[in-house]
Amino acid sequence: MTDDIQVWVKVAAFIGGGMAMGFGALGAAIGEGYTAAKANEAIARNPQISGDLFKTMLIGQAIAESASIFALVIAMILLFTDFAAESYVMVSVLLAAGLSMGLGAIGSGVGSGFPAGEACTGIARQPAMNGRLTTNMLIGSAVCQTPAIFALVTSFILLFTNFSDRPVSPTWAAILGAGFASGFGAIGSGLGGGLVAQASCEGIARQPLSATPVTNVMLLGQAVTQTTAIYGLLISFILMFKGFAPSQSIAESMALLGAGLCMGIGAIGPGIGEGFTAQSAVKWISRNQSATASLTRSMLVGQAVAESTGIYALVISLVLIFVI
């Protein structure tokens, strides 16, 4: 029997590592390609500063790649660590760790490509703002990485916490649900945060005098956009750390798996939607700076309404975990 567990744990580590790096490679590549495309466009527009543009492109791509590097670290740990095979829970732990990091890297990878591309366009348009645009791009793409970092936290907690004393059923489903919640949950927020940062780079290039309010509102908009990713993190924490009573019924396991899926997938839409809201608010603040206060307020209210579907998902997952 022990040999059997050993084999399955190895299988799970390999599949988990493959999924972590496979999904993890998806997003960052799209983001980096977008950056390079925009950089080409910018160089064609303003060939005299092609050196600066090339540098900005590389910096932006390096930041966009960090989500993928997180996935690489998790994949390496999954492939090269000998995991204690004491219980079948370990199988789902390894799968969940890989899924969480792999799915979680998609959004941030694509998202942080947007500000980098727009920064290249902006520098071509307004070469004097090179420094400020690069700083703004760095801040924007760093905040874009937050959902990927949340997914990474979940993966690390899964890998380095000892779950073997928990009952196999329903813990396996709770763990897998935790991976889905933080993995899927990070996709929308990563993408949305990228849209916001993109608008801020464009805005600073259009109207350099508005740099300070644009950066501040960008941070605010990105922070609110990440709220649903944080709900995903919260649900995955509850699923990981709440000890569930052993049960033989498959229904209870599926309730926990459903809770994770519900929160994870439910967080995708609000993340992107809130990103759109903040994107246009930031864009228009640069064009009409005198309306900063009312634009910020309408952005926050609009995001709160767009978030309500994320809150429905949160309520349903909490019901699935605690009531049913």
Binding site: M76, V153, A304
Partner: protein
């Protein structure tokens, strides 16, 4: 790698319940508090029209954050909540940067610190809302746009505390775990200083700023 997630705890029985103290976090928090007090003392010691280096930094903090608070609230409320916002940012910034010194940890790495800061902001925001609008208008805001939205509005308010504190906690915790794991994988050669610069200085400063901004906005939303 074994020290990952281990916390030194002091557990005191208290009328049938166990009170848990995270000793390390308390110690680190006190280090941060004492450093800020020392900084404040140095900044205001020889105040002059021509400021010394420490006074310049102090003035920078105060003027920037007063301006930010006054922009979001109005002149009068800005004066009232400015000191709180300024102190909050300085505390969080120093907390996030503390982990760069060997053998010290960020107090924000423990969920309890961001959560208590978030709860503090929540209580202050609602207190400010009741003061500004009156109790009746404050309660009425929960029943908008239609009365049956009340439970969702309530959950939305509580979710604000969760989101603000988990954001800071997740970022700082994630950064410190990455630094630890990569240092372990590369035997602490070459990479860790860069990671410390990125996750410690850069992300730490951004997240401290985001937390402070959100606290201001939560107050502003309640007041208006």
């Amino acid at each position: 790698m074994e020290e990952l997630g281990k916390i030194h705890q002091l557990i005191v029985p208290f009328f049938g319940h166990n009170m848990t103290f995270n000793l390390e976090v308390i110690l680190m928090t006190w280090i941060v508090i004492i450093s800020i007090l020392v900084f404040g003392f140095l900044a205001t010691r020889n105040k002059g029209v021509i400021p010394g280096p420490v006074q310049v930094v102090g003035e920078l903090f105060v003027s920037q954050f007063f301006a930010l608070t006054e922009d979001a609230l109005d002149k009068e409320l800005g004066k009232k909540y400015g000191p709180l916002i300024c102190a909050l940012f300085m505390f969080l910034l120093l907390s996030d940067w503390l982990g760069m010194i060997p053998h010290l940890h960020e107090p924000t790495m423990d969920l309890n610190t961001p959560l208590s800061m978030g709860l503090m902001g929540f209580v202050i925001a609602h207190y400010a809302g009741i003061r500004a609008k009156g109790f009746k208008a404050y309660i009425k805001a929960y029943f908008e746009p239609i009365f049956f939205m009340m439970p969702l509005n309530l959950i939305g308010e509580l979710a604000k505390v969760i989101s603000i504190s988990f954001r800071l906690f997740g970022n700082i915790m994630g950064g410190s775990i990455i630094i630890l794991v990569v240092s372990y994988l590369t035997y602490s050669i070459l990479l860790p200083p860069f990671l410390n610069a990125f996750f410690g200085i850069f992300i730490g400063a951004i997240q401290a700023f985001v937390f402070t901004m959100l606290t201001i906005v939560y107050i502003a939303v309640q007041v208006k």
